[in-house]
Symmetry: C2
Subunit: 140 residues, 2 copies
DNA sequence: ATATAAATCGAAACCATTTCGATTTAGGAT
DNA sequence: ATCCTAAATCGAAATGGTTTCGATTTATAT
């Protein structure tokens, strides 16, 4: 997806296009791996000396709200984000434990779970989270 | 599963059976919902006034290492644990968003994911995490 | 150009979690 | 039963990622 599309997506949701937001989107779109807020801050300090930590945290959260970034669940329980390249359809992510690369997994076989659970537990299933880990084609 | 089995499991892994460890296992085995370290601390304060926070954190981690508790992934990124009632076979968990009840989901259709990913991404799949959310039979 | 709501700054607060040296305890050995 | 010792617990302080908030700046519609 081109940067312009993400910016348009931002605007459509009522956000203003600011240099820092643009820079963060650009950063993620050229890096296929997930990043922590601290890491984003470091990368931006080149072009924006004195950028505030709080700004980075806020922008990352907003970009996720806008569907541009996704949070990556990590066992250290800290925040990590990556660009989602398929914002429109439900899917999952594969994450390389070595290089942090995030790949889109355009598959969800959750229907089977839902049937199984409804039948066996008599619950109302509302959501599910799936994350796949391993080594990507480069790292394996 | 009976408490004695969990205690035996603890002992087999080289841990000593202490009153606090026992109390924490008992607490979880009568509560089917997940708990935070703070909540565990509060419940234990009745029987163990002056129990230390660090002790609770440490025991919870150890019980997880021993396969007795499982960490629950929560969007607030804080620590939550629940008793795992099927420690021996691979499975997943359903979590009620209202009452926090955790149910064992004795199903995993991950093979399909693995085939799909190996074929499309040429990756080496090593692990996956699945968590299902919704309302349990009581809460729905 | 002007207005103004949104965005950013920056420093401090927050608070869940971790650390570590001192003290106590469980459980095997004598 | 007593002793021994590694393991477990205490407790208070540090840690550090994240959030807060009032002051200042900026994007953008008019
Ligand atoms: Mn995606
Ligand atoms: Mn389980
Ligand atoms: Zn990789
Ligand atoms: Zn429930």
């Amino acid at each position: 997806m081109k940067i312009e599309l993400y910016l348009q997506q931002l605007k459509e949701q009522g956000f203003k296009i600011t240099p820092k937001r643009k820079a963060i989107i650009e950063l993620f779109s050229k890096k296929k791996s997930y990043l922590s807020p601290q890491e984003v801050l470091e990368k931006l300090t080149n072009n924006f000396p004195g950028i505030s930590v709080s700004t980075v945290y806020r922008i990352l959260e907003e970009l996720q709200d806008a569907g541009i970034l996704v949070k990556i669940g990590h066992e250290d329980r800290q925040l990590y984000y990556s660009l989602c390249r398929m914002p429109d359809q439900h899917h999952h992510h594969f994450i390389c434990r070595k290089c942090r690369r995030v790949e889109e997994v355009d598959l969800c076989n959750f229907k089977e779970f839902e049937r199984f659970i409804s039948k066996n537990l008599d619950c109302k299933v509302e959501n599910h989270s799936v994350q796949i880990g391993g080594l990507c084609s480069r790292c394996k």
